[in-house]
Amino acid sequence: MKYESQKVAYAYFAVAMGLFAIQVTGGLLAGWIYVSPNFLSELLPFNIVRMLHTNALIVWLILGFFGAAYFLIPEESEREIHSTKLAYLQLLILVVGTLGAVLTYTFNLFEGNWLLGKEGREFLEQPKWVKAGIVVAALIFLYNVSMTVLKGKKTAITNILLLGLWGLALLFLFAFYNPGNLSLDKQYWWYVVHLWVEGVWELIMASILAYLMLKLTGVDREIVEKWLYVIVAAALFSGILGTGHHYYWIGTPGYWQWIGSIFSSLEVIPFFAMMAFAFVMVWKGRRDHPNKAALLWSLGCATLAFFGAGVWGFLHTLHGVNYYTHGTQITAAHGHLAFYGAYVCLNLAIFSYAMPILKNRDPYNQVLNMGSFWLMTSGMVFMTFVLTFGGTVQTHMQRVVGDYFMDVQDQIAIFYWMRFGSGLVVVIGALLFIYSIWVPRKEVIEPGAAKTPAE
């Protein structure tokens, strides 16, 4: 650790990992409710569990991004963070807000209250005061990192990262606008939900990945930057109008079907470019970095993002296909692998890279960490396949044959059972990851003397 203020990232990563554990546990619970629908139905209904699963995901990913920014910006800008106090205050606001949202939702406190009650909009259900807190925290963050970058060295990585983080904060403002008309509500709602994950988050992803590649492979900065700009251009070109793929059936004019189909098909390109980038950098790289786990997560991130976001997204993005598959388990399959590949793996890559440095020790726990990668990844990939097959059967029975929703759900129960099993593997993998980061103080397996070429 070159700069003292990078230590801020430690707290962010710790909270993020805590929420990660809660998030996957919530997912496991939701998976169990799928196979045993009355489980906890009075105490903790499915919609609440699902909210916990999705919101905890978003919050921990964002905390990871903030932590990553606080970790890499000092190194890139070659100066300390503008104010570490503000950085901790920001984290505190986010933690209080998160607890507030969870408690309000779980116990349905302040029902209907304008300021304190939940808003009930899927993903944007946080009470208004929590949303306001998120904005305040985001403003503190932007002020803090922008000041750091402005006073220090400007690199392509920090420029793109800041662009992504500014976009993340500004687009969230749409969460405050809630039109009475349901079509308009959805139209604006996607400005947050879509333009985050298929727009500005991709900038954050590309810049963090570029930073990791720079550190892990030792490739020249100019080469990394060239790739970075191309990836970012492709992401914004396709992603912004790609929002149209959410406008097929919500009451917006028909031309969105073509705008959405064409532009969102191109969203595969930046993800393919990121995968190509990661592998080309590793092949070209001269450095044999000891942190193999971070490299594994980085390559896994780029590859699984291409398949989860790119391929599985394309699978049902054309409106002629989506007419049948909309809202089936195909969507769930895509959602799981896309988020896991693009953003979960990205965060776990930067955790794996940064935590040994922040803890001021060598990356001891490579074997456990890499084991957790294979556990989590195989669990998630299996889940994706299971949901894709289940979704295909569901699409055919429900949308083509026209069977009743609940009859079809009974027919595909076997897939839900398998999904629960794969979810269990993911949770074990996640816990193993957290254990491997925090607990072991010695290398589990001593490296052998024999020199075998890497990979």
Partner: protein
């Protein structure tokens, strides 16, 4: 290392090439979709097409190609240190872009007066989408040409001309498929 050298040999800005390829993919996909949907209703498409102004569109083709020639000439002159001539050519290219937009605008106004809109027929949905997106690029191109008239370093003019030729090229694909294909 071959991939970087290939990219290094590319004339002009790399990112402009990324943009051009992306644009060609989008308009290409739009035209393929147009022709695909046309197969489902050839008679309806032919009837709808008869409402278009072929002469105006042909005139617009000539205007854009001339404008593109002027933009290319501007780079040539700028490199020959004929700065004033280059700027005049860029201004003329931008002005022709505006003329294109005026003719296009008259065409849209006429359609609107006939009560034709996006919903009238799939043909017109594609017509408005493709020519509308293209017109937006002409507008952006005029802005870019004016920008590089002001900031007239050769590499800026080259990037501006690259963009403008892409706008040209897209129109040359749209014109026959939408207006002429019988």
């Amino acid at each position: 290392m071959s991939d970087t050298s290939l990219i290094d040999e590319l004339p002009g800005e790399l990112l402009m090439w990324v943009l051009i390829i992306s644009e060609l993919l989008v308009f290409g996909a739009g035209l393929v979709a147009f022709m695909g949907v046309r197969l489902t209703d050839p008679a309806g498409f032919a009837e709808a097409q008869s409402h278009l102004h072929r002469t105006g569109a042909a005139l617009n083709t000539a205007i854009l190609v001339t404008s593109g020639y002027l933009a290319a000439q501007a780079l040539h002159w700028r490199r020959a240190a004929r700065r004033f001539a280059a700027r005049l050519a860029l201004l003329a290219a931008a002005a022709l872009g505006v003329v294109f937009l005026i003719i296009k605008g008259a065409e849209y106004a006429d359609k609107s007066a006939q009560g034709i809109n996006f919903e009238t027929h799939p043909f017109f949905m594609f017509y408005y989408l493709l020519t509308g997106f293209h017109a937006a690029h002409v507008l952006a191109g005029v802005g870019i040409l004016l920008l590089v008239t002001w900031r007239d370093e050769p590499r800026n003019i080259e990037a501006g001309a690259q963009f403008w030729h892409m706008v040209d090229l897209v129109w040359i694909m749209l014109f026959p498929v939408i207006y002429l294909l019988g």
